[in-house]
């Protein structure tokens, strides 16, 4: 337990520096954008030069860049991300409203890709070089080459337009006032296609990693020892080979979280899921830079938290990992 705590503390200290770099870097990048929040606001509402001056002063946009960065960091310490121009509401509230949908999408897609991917990987890796191994290997490579947003459109054409089995988009049936289990089922049905589109690509990744990992483990001495002991092939595969090949996949879970968050931007746009990714696209379209900044920061925090959880899980799963090594 203490080992995990030491690990946690080291990681937290490092994360604060990383977050600071992210905040300052993104702030300066978005500062470079032509036009500011007032321009965006005036375009949507109209107003004269006096109004522009007044708004710039009120929102603190007439101050120097450094002052504004300092103000932003100070507000951030109070978990204040500022005001969204497009939504006329605090950015924190807008993001918190959208975040659960994205998390639901990501967690389901991860469960699908990790579960099915490692299972198929074990199935392929149990008999290296066999027909099913080659078939799954080439199939997963082909799947890995498919762009998620295009897969999403193909799924829509087949399952929503032609067969009419599943809804075409959205997170739930609008204005249906369903509650409890009915609502959960409704959301689950809406999530089938987006989760598949997002998850299948990573499924291929986990399958390939599992297969490659097992190929390495097969060559090790303890597998030979297990064979010499006369263990059944099934037991060798599951208890020895697959178990040892599973660990790198757990690390991959954390590394892929940033990729998956990026992928959900496009998937949410294809399926009109009101999540963080679609919000990012809306922010880009409306030139709402403070909102975009808030979304990028939230994603960064999310990625850090996921990686922290994965590291802790790893420390428990693999007794060889000391706090010192894991920090490197």
């Amino acid at each position: 337990m203490t080992r995990a705590l030491i690990l946690l503390r080291r990681r937290l200290v490092g994360s604060i520096f990383v977050l600071l770099i992210v905040v300052i870097g993104t702030f300066l990048l978005l500062e470079a954008a032509p036009g500011d929040a007032v321009d965006a606001y005036i375009v949507s509402t109209g107003g004269d030069a006096g109004m522009i001056e007044l708004l710039r002063h009120r929102w603190g946009l007439d101050q120097s860049e450094l002052t504004r960065l300092a103000n932003y960091l100070w507000a951030l310490l109070h978990l204040d991300l500022g005001q969204s121009v497009t939504f006329s509401r605090p950015i924190r509230d807008v993001i918190l409203e959208r975040l659960p949908n994205t998390l639901l999408l990501m967690v389901s897609a991860t469960a699908l890709s990790f579960g099915l991917g490692s299972a198929l990987g074990i199935y392929a890796g149990a008999r290296p070089g066999s027909v099913r191994d080659r078939f799954l290997s080439i199939g997963s490579l082909a799947l890995y080459a498919v762009p998620g947003f295009w897969l999403g459109l193909v799924l829509i054409v087949v399952f929503a337009v032609d067969l009419r089995w599943l809804p075409i988009g959205g997170i739930e049936t609008l204005a249906s006032d369903k509650t409890g289990l009915d609502r959960a089922t409704d959301i689950a049905i809406h999530l089938v296609l987006p989760v598949s589109a997002l998850g299948f690509i990573y499924l291929a990744l986990y399958l390939r990693m599992m297969r490659a990992g097992m190929a390495e483990v097969w060559r090790q001495d303890f597998v030979l020892a297990a064979r010499a002991k006369g263990l059944s092939r099934r037991r060798i595969v599951l208890a020895h080979v697959a178990r040892n090949a599973l660990l790198p996949l757990v690390t991959m879970l954390g590394l892929q979280s940033a990729q998956m968050l990026g992928g959900s931007v496009v998937i949410e746009s294809v399926f009109s899921v009101p999540g963080l990714g679609r919000l990012a696209q809306e922010a880009v379209a409306a030139r709402d830079t403070p909102l975009l900044l808030g979304i990028i920061l939230t994603s960064a925090v999310l990625v850090i938290v996921i990686n922290l959880l994965v590291d802790i899980a790893y420390a428990f799963l693999d007794p060889r990992v000391g706090a010192g090594e894991a920090g490197a």
Binding site: V18, I21, T26, L30, A32, L141, P147, F149, V284, T289
Partner: protein, 276 residues
């Protein structure tokens, strides 16, 4: 066996080479076979494929020739993919070499910056960058490279850490070579092989990211892109799904070709170095 024949001895590598050759031929012949603006109107709108042999793959919502767009799109995909990957590999190996060779504070600072870039989802970063600077081919290349240089940087650093203790580096120091000259003339070239082994994955990822950006309307508006074609077709997905499906298949075959050829190259070099 010569390296080329060894490379072509695996069916995967052969398939990859065929796919890539076809793609490059498409990209190079685009202006010859389809001179003029591929975004110009060529016939009636929404002509289905295989109806009129002067427009074999039919036309889109605005009456543009789908086959011409496909050929010109190959050019954009390939150019952006290769340029972004080259930029990412170059920046990554320079940063990784500096961090690994200098060590100490330089290493610490560079690696925390690398961490920061890996913490922000690279697609979100590309989206923000393009929306700030404005969509053009060069900007899209930079935006993609921004999110992909970190992998090569880490690999290069790890490699440099093991190389910098070797004897020939020590002797380069002894004869009074400038540290930067040692880093970039002696160490970097020897650290490159594992970095270059990543190139097929990076090219593939760059092609997919470009497609996703242009799908969201953030590609260069003056060029035909496969992602843009898929987005165009989305408006008539119910009546003319082929408009979205055809450029997607081109995209899948391209990325698959890159992966297969890349795996073939890695396997060939592994055999040569006696690793397999």
């Amino acid at each position: 066996m010569s390296p080329v024949r060894r490379f072509l001895s695996t069916p995967e590598a052969v398939a990859g080479t065929i796919l890539l050759t076809a793609l490059i031929a498409m990209a190079l012949s685009a202006s010859l076979l389809f001179p003029g603006d591929p975004q110009a109107i060529a016939g009636p709108a929404l002509l289905p494929p295989f109806q009129d042999w002067s427009l074999p793959l039919g036309t889109d919502r605005l009456g543009r020739d789908v086959l011409a767009e496909l050929f010109h799109g190959a050019r954009t995909s390939l150019a952006v993919g290769l340029a972004a990957a080259a930029a990412a590999l170059a920046v990554g190996s320079v940063v990784g070499t500096l961090a690994g060779f200098a060590g100490g504070l330089v290493d610490e600072v560079l690696m925390r910056i690398t961490d920061a870039f890996q913490t922000v989802p690279s697609f979100l970063l590309a989206l923000a960058f393009v929306s700030v600077v404005g969509p053009s081919l060069g900007i899209v290349v930079i935006a993609i490279a921004l999110g992909t240089w970190t992998g090569p940087a880490r690999v290069a650093r790890a490699e440099v850490l093991s190389i910098r203790e070797r004897d020939y580096v020590a002797s380069a120091r002894a004869i009074g070579m400038h540290p930067l000259a040692i880093a970039f003339r002696e160490v970097l070239p020897n650290a490159l092989p594992p970095v270059l082994a990543m190139s097929s994955v990076i090219v593939a990822a760059a092609i997919l990211t470009e497609a996703a950006l242009s799908f969201l309307g953030l590609g260069d508006p003056n060029r035909v892109t496969w992602g843009g074609m898929i987005a165009e077709g989305r408006a008539v997905l119910r009546t003319a799904p082929f408009l979205s499906i055809v450029p997607g298949i081109a995209l899948v075959l391209t990325v698959l070709g890159v992966y297969l050829a890349g795996e073939g190259i890695v396997e060939t070099t592994a055999v040569r170095r006696g690793l397999s």
